[in-house]
């Protein structure tokens, strides 16, 4: 009897922990993705053989849900626009959840392939993308990731392309920007050393910073499990006299850092990269703390030329789009342009489309929300200019 009770107790505990894990993201994203599914269903009804099946993969639940949801939403807006405008190329979209986990992401990919996916926009996060990209390479599925920024995603795979900058590119650009505009800064680098994205940018940043003679006064690290308290690192940064903190990380830990720095009255210039994007729309975060934060991102919702996309996004999903949504939006249009250039038709198999698109990708030039004149090299990396923005009054503006 004792054993049974024990078993029952364990089960209850585990079930609750699972609910807690899975439920965290549910609240935030239910509304948005609810819409997505319904509308995707509509597109599905009118779908004939002339439509290309496009899949997106990203964390729709869990702690990185903002990214995955943004990608799914951004792609949806692009698909709706393209379908509404008519034309030879029509898309049908399905978005799958991968909780930013490699194994689940491969499962999501297989699920989409069962559905008949011909083109993949995703996955959203780096670790998951590396796992999926090698599947895509083996099986000749054309993959265009909106936001997975590691070079490992594209390395050695001719049919995998990126819309976002690579990690080294972001790190190098950040260092270059600092060398140019804030050469005297005393920089403290704080990064997450169990995260591929954070570590990748940090490595490139430090290498470039040394080459440019920037003054890095210290480095601090944290892990996923210690991302709730940064007082030690902040004190160290303050003691080292740092006046600039480089934060190559996602917005969630960054929000804690901003909070704690504010609480201890320490106000250096915070400098983030594209993972910082999303901090203003984070639930439960006082956006005024992000005032003066600088970040390197290719997209700003306040720029004139992006207004129609921002408006469409706000109308449909009730929030300002971030860079991930813009990347996904661009990704769909890039696919359209590449498909047109390659002369693909929707009745072609996934592998045939892939073979047709690979040589075309290096020849096209795309003007999108996240950059003008984007071009791709054969190794899959995009070439476009990052722009530094500073957060003022809750919006991104160009620094003076």
């Amino acid at each position: 009897m004792k054993k049974k009770f024990f078993a029952f107790l364990m089960a209850v505990v585990m079930v609750f922990s699972l609910v807690a894990c899975g439920g965290g993201g549910d609240d935030a994203t239910t509304d948005d993705t609810g819409d997505t599914t319904e509308d995707t269903g509509d597109t599905g009804d009118s779908a004939t053989t002339t439509t290309f099946k496009v899949g997106t993969i990203g964390p729709l639940t869990g702690e990185n849900a903002i990214y995955g949801t943004a990608v799914a939403n951004g792609a949806k807006i692009a698909v709706d626009e393209i379908n509404a405008a008519g034309g030879d190329i029509q898309f049908e979209l399905q978005s799958e959840d991968d909780v930013a986990d490699g194994e689940t992401s491969v499962n999501a990919y297989n699920n989409l392939m069962d559905w008949g996916m011909q083109l993949l926009v995703g996955p959203t996060t780096t670790g998951a993308s590396v796992a999926v990209s090698s599947k895509c390479y083996e099986e000749r599925t054309f993959m265009l990731t909106p936001s997975a920024s590691s070079t490992d995603v594209t390395a050695g795979k001719d049919n995998v392309f990126q819309v976002c900058f690579t990690d080294p590119n972001q790190g190098t650009s950040s260092a270059d920007y600092m060398a140019e505009n804030m050469a005297d800064a005393k920089i403290y680098v704080l990064y997450q050393n169990d995260d591929a994205y954070s570590q990748g940018i940090r490595d490139a940043f430090v290498t470039e910073a040394e080459a440019k003679g920037l003054n890095i006064v210290g480095e601090g690290t944290f892990t996923k499990d210690t991302a709730t308290d940064f007082s030690v690192q902040l004190t160290a940064a303050q003691a080292a006299g740092a006046d600039t903190m480089f934060l190559p990380m996602y917005y969630q830990p960054a929000s804690v850092i901003l909070n704690q720095a504010n609480a201890m009255g320490y106000a250096p210039t915070f400098f983030g990269v594209d993972g910082m994007d999303g901090i203003l729309t984070m639930e439960g975060f006082d956006a005024s703390l992000a005032e003066g934060v600088m970040l390197l991102t290719p997209f700003s919702a306040t720029l004139e030329e992006n207004a129609s996309f921002v408006q469409a996004y706000e109308d449909q999903f009730g929030e300002t789009p971030n860079q991930f949504a813009a990347d996904a939006y661009d990704a769909v249009y890039i696919l359209k342009e590449a498909l047109e250039a390659a002369g693909c038709t929707a009745d072609m198999t996934t592998a045939d489309i892939c073979e047709a698109l690979v040589p075309v990708m290096t020849t096209i030039t795309h003007d999108g929300l996240t950059g003008k004149g984007m071009t791709w090299s054969a190794d899959g990396a995009v070439s476009k200019d990052p722009t530094a923005f500073v957060i003022q009054d809750g919006v991104y503006v160009l620094p003076q």
């Binding site: 054993k3 049974k4 078993a7 029952f8 364990m10 089960a11 209850v12 585990m14 079930v15 922990s17 699972l18 609910v19 894990c21 899975g22 439920g23 993201g25 549910d26 239910t30 993705t33 609810g34 599914t37 729709l60 639940t61 799958e96 959840d97 986990d101 490699g102 194994e103 689940t104 491969v106 499962n107 999501a108 990919y109 297989n110 699920n111 069962d114 670790g127 590396v130 796992a131 090698s134 599947k135 590691s150 490992d152 390395a155 050695g156 990064y191 997450q192 050393n193 169990d194 995260d195 591929a196 954070s198 570590q199 990748g200 490595d203 430090v206 480095e219 690290t221 892990t223 499990d225």
Partner: protein, 356 residues
């Protein structure tokens, strides 16, 4: 006539073997016919790994009666040592199945060593210390592998521990022909995926044979005697620590082999994959399948791995439904009426239930 009757436990064991073999053949057949959808095909190897994990954890939790909360730690050790082995032997052993086998054996050995390190001091103690220490072990392994930099070139293996966080893969000074195998937090990326469903099946069969034979042997009876009454076991001269260690290290080694197979099934693997949640996931398989019930673990691991994917139609609610299913299954299997019903259908089971 009496000679022909087989013991009930032996019969159960053979039915378990048979079930796994039949399931394997059916899946192979379906896959070759192209009937099986890709979603399920892609999960075959992870399912085999999780089955193996669940069986091996059942040996610790169900048979030995000690709670282990860091089984994913052993899987992690096995996975990364297996990846290193497989990647560095690429040119030495071009024959993939052999390389996979070697990688899994190495994974098992390293996990066994980790098991001995954890087990020797802790299994001497009474109480729930193993749960606490294995919990810590899982976290330590995760952090250690996050610091680990491993590369391979013509000069052999290069390793470095990035404890200060300031080193990167370039500090290994690899030759131009070298490959980076584990890049700290980025984990193992660019792994050549050599795992196959057949290997998964062989792993499950080996795990079953080892665990079932261990349980039915003299050693297994000693282990269960310790679980049921430690003092009585000691009084008849059973070396408690020795038998506990045998069970625990076997369990760790099997988890290591499963980890190696798992690691070689994905081209990218981070240490954070093997976190506390993964340990608990495996423990859920064991508890739901029934403590000490080997075929129960096999079924629970299979069903609960497929379930979240099968529930994709529910979108964001799938993990919620997954949890509800868990609760319902738990209630159903603990329901005395359901058991009485089962007892009426299979009268012999009634005796078995009261043992538990």
């Amino acid at each position: 006539m009496k000679k022909l009757t087989i013991k009930r436990t032996t019969r159960t064991d053979f039915i378990t073997y048979l079930g796994v073999i039949v399931a394997f053949l059916i899946m192979m057949f379906l896959r070759d016919q192209g009937v099986l959808n890709r979603s399920l095909t892609g999960q075959l190897v992870p399912i085999c790994c999780y089955i193996s994990m669940a069986i091996s954890l059942n040996l610790t939790v169900g048979i030995l009666g000690e709670l282990s909360l860091g089984h994913a730690g052993f899987m992690s050790v096995g996975a990364f040592s297996g990846i290193i082995t497989a990647m560095s032997l690429q040119s030495t052993i071009p024959y993939t199945p052999l390389r996979l086998a070697v990688a899994m054996v190495v994974g098992a050995i390293f996990a066994a060593i980790a098991g001995i390190i954890v087990g020797v001091p802790v299994l001497r103690l009474r109480g729930d210390y193993l749960a606490i220490v294995t919990l810590a072990f899982g976290e330590i392994i995760k952090d250690l592998i996050n610091c680990l930099l491993v590369g391979y070139d013509s000069n052999g293996l290069h390793m470095a521990l990035n404890l200060t966080g300031s080193k990167s893969i370039t500090d290994l000074n690899l030759q131009p022909d070298g490959i980076a195998i584990i890049k700290g937090a980025q984990g193992a990326t660019g792994t050549t995926t050599i795992a196959s469903f057949t290997a998964g099946f062989v792993l499950v069969m080996i795990t079953l044979v080892i665990v079932l034979n261990l349980v039915r042997s003299r050693t297994g009876r000693a282990v269960m005697a310790i679980r049921d009454n430690r003092i009585a076991a000691e009084s008849v001269g059973i070396n408690v620590t020795k038998y506990k260690l045998i069970a625990f290290v076997t369990s760790a080694a099997l988890a290591g082999a499963a980890g190696a197979l798992y690691g070689l099934n994905f081209s990218s693997l981070q240490a954070t994959k093997f976190n506390f949640n993964t340990s608990i996931l495996v423990l859920v398989f064991v508890v739901l399948g029934g403590l000490g019930n080997i075929w129960g673990s096999v079924i629970a691991a299979t069903v609960l791995t497929i379930l979240p994917e099968a529930l994709r139609g529910f979108d964001d609610y799938r993990m919620l439904i997954y949890a509800i299913v868990l609760i319902l299954v738990m209630l159903a299997t603990n329901n005395s009426q359901a058991k009485a019903l089962l007892g009426r259908i299979i009268p012999k089971r009634k005796g078995a239930e009261t043992n538990g």
